[in-house]
């Protein structure tokens, strides 16, 4: 059985603890009982929009430090955020270059760490190494657990719920060489939604950016919000009850931006929260009160009121 290590990043623990609860619940003994461990020394991935944008050397050092921790435990890093996925996955690609790897390891030596990758097999005396595996929660759900199992675990099908999927750019295009889904026709989150019994609604410009990435939200929030407004208009036109995403930063953007242009707003949740609901969790554990857009309308519909 594959072994994983949770990588929650910055936004989930510090802004949306309900997502952390949902992920732990879905992966834990109430759910799929995965072999997944906390590595407490993980730091920020670090954020691509800040560190990758301002100094790639620093970004690579900090990302490598996290990778070394996964390497030590011989576990796949289970990210729950598109930003963490792209940052760590890109770092594994950068470290394939021996010159760069040497330079990184010379600095990592100062903190007693070394990135080598994980040994895959031995050929004669040589050990063949492979990069530390970096996975996305959605990818683990559909590929390792499988839609059939998700369907089997759905004890409370969300039959009357219409959900609009937002994938997020770094889910679609994490690096130049690797993808976890078809960037032009992604299906994985939609399939999870359907395995939970809900309907995934199609809407115009579904693959558009939420507007927050690359530091745009922090730098010119109005610009980010106007992109989100377009998306929300299309989602509302499709008659969705909620927005489901695999990225807490997109979630944060939808959740915060809607205040700027609408009174009610469409509730937004992480795919793990939707899954936990379909698996019969008490909604009170999902921390919806930390979301700015109230999930009240959604939960009422779920109860069939």
């Amino acid at each position: 059985m594959t072994k994983y290590a949770y990588f929650f990043g910055c936004i989930i623990p510090n802004r949306y603890p309900g997502i952390e609860y949902a992920v732990r619940w879905v992966c834990g003994k109430e759910g799929y009982g995965l072999d997944v461990k906390d590595i407490k020394e993980f730091s920020c991935c670090p954020v691509p929009g800040i560190f990758y944008s301002s100094d790639k050397n620093t970004w690579l050092l900090l990302a490598s430090r996290n990778l070394v921790l996964g390497q030590k435990e011989r576990r796949e890093i289970l990210t729950v955020c598109n930003g963490c996925l792209t940052s760590l996955l890109k770092a594994t690609e950068y470290l394939k270059d021996p010159k760069r790897l040497g330079k990184v390891n010379r600095t990592l030596a100062q903190i007693g760490k070394k990135y080598t990758g994980i040994p895959r097999k031995t050929e004669g005396r040589r050990r063949i190494m492979e990069p530390v595996k970096v996975r996305h929660y959605v990818d683990v759900m559909t590929d390792d657990i499988g839609l059939e199992d998700i369907q089997k675990h759905t004890t409370r099908p969300l039959n009357n719920i219409r959900a609009a999927t937002h994938y997020g750019c770094h889910y679609l295009r994490p690096t130049e060489n690797q993808t976890i889904d078809d960037p032009n026709d992604p299906v994985k989150i939609d399939k999870i939604i359907e395995a939970c019994g809900a309907t995934s609604v199609d809407y115009d410009d579904k693959l558009d950016c939420c507007g927050a990435g690359g530091g745009v939200r922090s730098h010119v929030v109005e610009l980010a919000n106007s992109l989100t407004e377009d998306k929300c208009r299309n989602i509302a036109a499709a008659g969705a009850d909620c927005i489901v995403t695999g990225c807490p930063f997109c979630l944060l953007q939808f959740d915060n931006a809607q205040k700027a242009f609408t009174k009610d707003g469409i509730p937004v949740m992480h795919v793990s929260q939707l899954q936990a609901l379909a698996m019969g969790i008490d909604p009170i554990s999902l921390g919806f009160d930390t979301h700015h857009v109230s999930a009240h309308s959604f939960l009422r519909k779920l109860r069939g009121v």
Binding site: C10, E41, C44, P46, S53, T58, E176, V216, V220, L223
Partner: protein, 192 residues
């Protein structure tokens, strides 16, 4: 977009120099090379097809045409690339649609590297970097959220744990070794 930029983009840059609308000294021939040094690809191979601008979500909202930026980079007209360095959402759609495989988003990231080195550092970078060396995370812990974590019976956020002091020390060592603290000007109050 100004008249000068418009004419320039129609391909008449020699005429602009001739007419003294732009000064030849403004053209930095080494600019494209500098972009490669910061991890961007060779902008000289750009075909100016415009696919990147066509799919750019930001270009719908403000006067920001990534194709123009690439053209300015080709000729080394740095000053026209200055205003829009931080509006790219790095969605990488331009990369997906670029027939010349240039990855314009990475060019924007290289331009950002240059900006930082010229001392143009947006405040949000400083905030995130300071949070990182202080808490090990780019987002500051929030007391209200920590209360809710307790209610949900989740453990404290990592930065609250005693053992996390070692992590913060390690991060500081790396940040210092890369010279990032100096580059960004992170305040020196952060001894864990």
């Amino acid at each position: 977009m100004g008249e000068v930029e418009k004419t320039f983009l129609s391909g008449l840059h020699e005429k602009l120099v001739e007419d003294k609308v732009i000064d030849e000294s403004q053209l930095e021939p080494g600019f494209a090379k500098e972009i490669v040094e910061y991890g961007g690809k060779d902008v000289m191979t750009c075909l100016q097809c415009g696919n990147c601008t066509g799919v750019c979500p930001i270009s719908l909202k403000i006067d920001y045409k990534i194709r123009s930026i690439i053209k300015f980079c080709q000729f080394g007209l740095k000053k026209f690339t200055l205003g829009t360095r931080w509006v790219c959402a790095t969605c990488y759609r331009c990369y997906e649609h670029c027939p010349a495989d240039i990855n314009p988003a990475e060019v924007m990231i290289a331009l950002r590297h240059m900006a930082i080195r010229e001392g143009v550092i947006p405040p949000f970078i400083k905030v995130a970097a300071t949070n990182l060396v202080k808490y090990g995370q780019s987002v500051k812990p929030d007391l209200e959220i920590e209360k809710i974590r307790k209610e949900l019976e989740l453990e404290d956020v990592p930065s609250r744990a005693m053992e996390y002091a070692k992590v913060i020390r390690e991060i500081n060592v790396l940040v210092h070794a890369a010279g990032y603290d100096k580059l960004i000007g992170i305040e020196k109050e952060v001894k864990a």
